[in-house]
């Protein structure tokens, strides 16, 4: 992915995340605040409903008190006067006072008068069944011990919940003794609840605890309601929140759950505000994001891309004079300048390299030419020199043969010297030729088994071995990469020397090989006459001899050829020796595969 895309992506992701975080925070904090506020409001609203209900109860209480502290009632409770009933306890009273129940009970607990009335159907109904259960002498409803005692509240009846007020029957001056109890009751049915709702402006729904058809939301609320927390708020929809209140009856037992549906004005407003704010924030983030991206692009990314493209282009085109464009005065332009500097250096070094290459090609050409000339020269030399040599040698010898006995000893001697000289000359020429051919006539390298070569060499030298009673032994010898003919020459020279340069004892020669890192180290040890260390290097030079020709024959070229051969194979040759203690000639050949022919 390009830098540009990466940057855009990262910036985009970061800004979006930022926005997301702010969004979440705002929702949590702001709306949370609103939600808390709402909760408080809901509680207060429910409390308002409850206080409305309390109001109702208070009104009922007052009404009941009016009638309970009345001389007429005071008398009636004792004498049960029919007039009283007729003038006060008729249907109109129920309607006017909005009562469903009137109960007159004397001090002994006897019901003097009771009547229940249905306000919807406007007719008398039987006394609610469950009511009498509550009328035992120790029940709150009847248990008025003091003049100012009263019992007001909810009563849970099988027929439904009822608001009741129970007061002691007193004189109009609120004097005793208490002659009985007056109980007024009003059903808290749907109608009542609706009336309550109208006064509070909330829609209300009430359900008794023991209602088997209690809706699930009520049940949920119930699980959170208790005497300690009688109010419970729960969001119903996005528009309304439900406040639940647990209502207790006269005996302080929870009997009713009331639900008020409260519109979520504040919360809704809060949400809208937050949404607008978020919208504005998002727009701002986007706008700034775009601005940042554009600036970034302009200032950095596009220049980087340009630089990168330039460099790619240059590396692909392999044009040594090309340079990158450099604009501005900052790190990028510095980079560009540095790159250009490097390119300049590269161009120069390439030109240098090319020049050197040309030089070397030229030199190689020269070398090849000179080699060919040399080869030709060597060949011609040996060839054309041989012939006159032969003539001189042959005819001198012919002379000797033909005129044997007819010439004097001096003549014989002279002829002998002449022939000797020519023979040596020829040997020298041959050796020189062999030396020059080491590199020019060398064969390509191949794997050569040295054990095999040495066996061949011993076979070649068998006459010399026999004549000197030599014993030649060798360890297992490795296979190396080389020229078989030249290796044969090499071994033959060295073994031949070992045999030739023997002292009084018959020559004992041993060949061994050892692997040293990336090379094979060959050793040819003999028990011959040895070499003075001060000559150890000179013997490898052309025609160097350490002994007279009478002592040991040879042109002195053998070791030079050996050195040349070893060097052609990538190794080196030397000798460890002391006079009278034999010699060990050592040479190295790189291990197979390391050397190209």
């Amino acid at each position: 992915m390009t830098l540009r895309k990466k940057t855009f992506l990262m910036l985009g992701v970061t800004l979006i995340s930022l926005f997301g975080v702010l969004f979440v925070i705002s929702r949590v904090i702001v709306l949370g605040g609103f939600a808390d506020q709402e909760k408080q409001d809901t509680h207060r609203s429910v409390e308002r409903v409850l206080s409305a209900l309390d109001n109702d109860l208070f009104t009922l209480d007052t009404t009941t008190r009016d009638w309970a502290s009345w001389d007429d009632t005071y008398d009636f409770i004792q004498n049960g006067d029919e007039d009283y009933i007729e003038s006060n306890l008729g249907d109109p009273t129920f309607i006017t006072l909005r009562l469903n129940l009137m109960q007159y009970i004397d001090a002994l607990g006897n019901i003097v008068f009771e009547k229940a009335y249905d306000l919807n159907e406007e007719r008398q109904i039987p006394i609610p069944e469950g009511l009498h259960q509550h009328l035992s002498t120790d029940d709150i409803l009847l248990n008025h011990l003091e003049l100012d005692s009263s019992a007001t509240g909810l009563l849970s009846l099988p027929e439904g919940p009822m608001l009741v007020a129970s007061l002691p029957i007193l004189t109009s001056e609120d004097q005793g003794p208490i002659r009985g109890t007056l109980i007024f009751g009003r059903f808290l049915n749907t109608t009542e609840v609706q009336r309550l709702a109208q006064t509070t402006f909330y829609s209300l729904v009430a359900h008794e605890l023991r209602d088997p058809q209690m809706p699930p939301d009520f049940q949920v609320a119930l699980s959170s309601l208790s005497e300690e927390s009688p109010i419970f708020a729960r969001t119903l929809t996005s528009q309304t929140v439900a406040g639940y209140a647990l209502l207790q009856d006269i005996y302080d037992e929870p009997v009713l759950v009331l639900r008020a549906d409260i519109p979520r004005d504040i919360y809704a407003r809060g949400r809208t505000t937050v949404n607008f704010f978020m919208g504005a924030l998002l727009t701002a983030v986007l706008v700034f994001g775009v601005v940042i991206l554009l600036l970034l692009d302009r200032l950095v990314l596009s220049r980087l891309a340009r630089l990168s493209a330039d460099v790619n282009h240059i590396s692909a085109s392999s044009n040594p004079t090309a340079r990158v464009s450099v604009a501005g005065r900052d790190e990028l332009s510095d980079l560009g300048s540095t790159i250009n500097g490097m390119l300049g250096a590269l161009e120069r070094s390439q030109a240098e390299y090319k020049r050197v290459e040309e030089d070397m090609a030229h030199q190689a050409q020269e070398l090849a030419r000179s080699n060919t000339e040399l080869e030709h020269f060597a060949y011609v030399t040996s060839h054309d020199l041989q012939e006159p040599l032969r003539m001189v040698a042959s005819y001198t010898q012919l002379l000797a043969r033909r005129y044997k006995g007819q010439l004097d000893t001096d003549a014989d001697e002279f002829i002998a010297y002449a022939v000797n000289g020519v023979t040596r000359m020829q040997a020298l020429i041959n050796d020189l030729l062999a030396y020059s051919r080491v590199n020019s006539k060398g064969n390509p390298f191949g794997p050569i088994d040295c054990s095999f070569v040495v066996d061949q060499v011993l076979s070649n030298l068998q006459e010399a071995i026999r004549d000197s009673s030599a014993v030649v032994t060798h360890d297992a010898l490795p296979t190396v990469l080389g020229d078989s003919m030249q290796l044969t020459q090499l071994f033959q020279n060295l073994v031949g020397n070992a045999i030739k340069f023997h002292g009084e004892n018959p020559p004992r020669v041993h060949l061994s090989a050892e692997r040293k890192g990336k090379e094979w180290l060959f050793s040819i040890r003999d028990n011959g006459i040895g070499i003075d260390p001060q000559y150890a290097e000179r013997i490898f030079l052309l025609f160097q001899r350490l002994h007279s020709r009478n002592e040991y024959p040879g042109t002195g070229i053998g070791l030079t050829v050996c050195k040349r051969i070893v060097e052609r194979h990538g190794g080196s040759i030397w000798v460890d020796s002391e006079p009278g203690k034999g010699s060990t000639f050592c040479f190295t050949i790189p291990t197979e595969g390391d050397r190209e022919p």
Binding site: Y379, H383, Q386, E387, L389, R390, M391, A393, S394, Y395, T396, Q397, L398, R401, V419, V422, T423, Q426, N430, K441
Partner: protein
């Protein structure tokens, strides 16, 4: 003294440009046990004329053995060899390359061209004499030469 079946001397052709060498060879062959007649030609062209029995060599005898030097003027010894061995009538004649060169390439080339053998002329006279005698002994007594009538 052995002779060939018809009592005629063995015909040998020497192709050699060096008079010194010719004389040497002649002297040595004189000492041979076998009756032989040594003809000498001095260059490659003459050699072919001789072998084709043309011109002044119209009456020349077909040689039983050819001793051929490689480095000859005009026609080179290698060419002569090639021609001889390509010629139907001449290719059976054994050709002994007798030359100063010991170069590997010359040896290979000669055998490539079907020389019967290759001998390097030694410097030493004794050796030279031995070689000539050996040639004589081998090619004239041991090896069977094809009879061409």
């Amino acid at each position: 003294m052995k002779v060939d079946r018809f009592g005629k001397p063995v015909e040998i052709l020497l192709v050699e440009d060096n008079p010194g060498d010719v004389r040497l060879t002649q002297e040595t062959f004189k000492e041979n046990k076998i009756l032989n007649h040594l003809s000498v030609v001095w260059d490659g062209e003459e050699a072919m004329t001789f072998l084709h029995q043309e011109g002044e060599y119209a009456n020349a005898m077909r040689p039983d053995l050819i001793l051929l030097d490689l480095n000859l003027p005009k026609m080179d010894g290698r060419e002569v060899l090639a021609e001889i061995k390509a010629d139907e009538h001449l290719k059976r004649i054994p050709v002994v390359v007798l030359t100063t060169s010991s170069a590997e390439q010359d040896i290979l080339k000669s055998y490539d061209l079907h020389a019967n053998c290759y001998i390097t002329k030694p410097v030493d006279l004794e050796q030279f004499i031995t070689i000539v005698k050996t040639i004589e002994e081998f090619w004239l007594t041991i090896a069977k030469l094809p009879y061409e009538g």
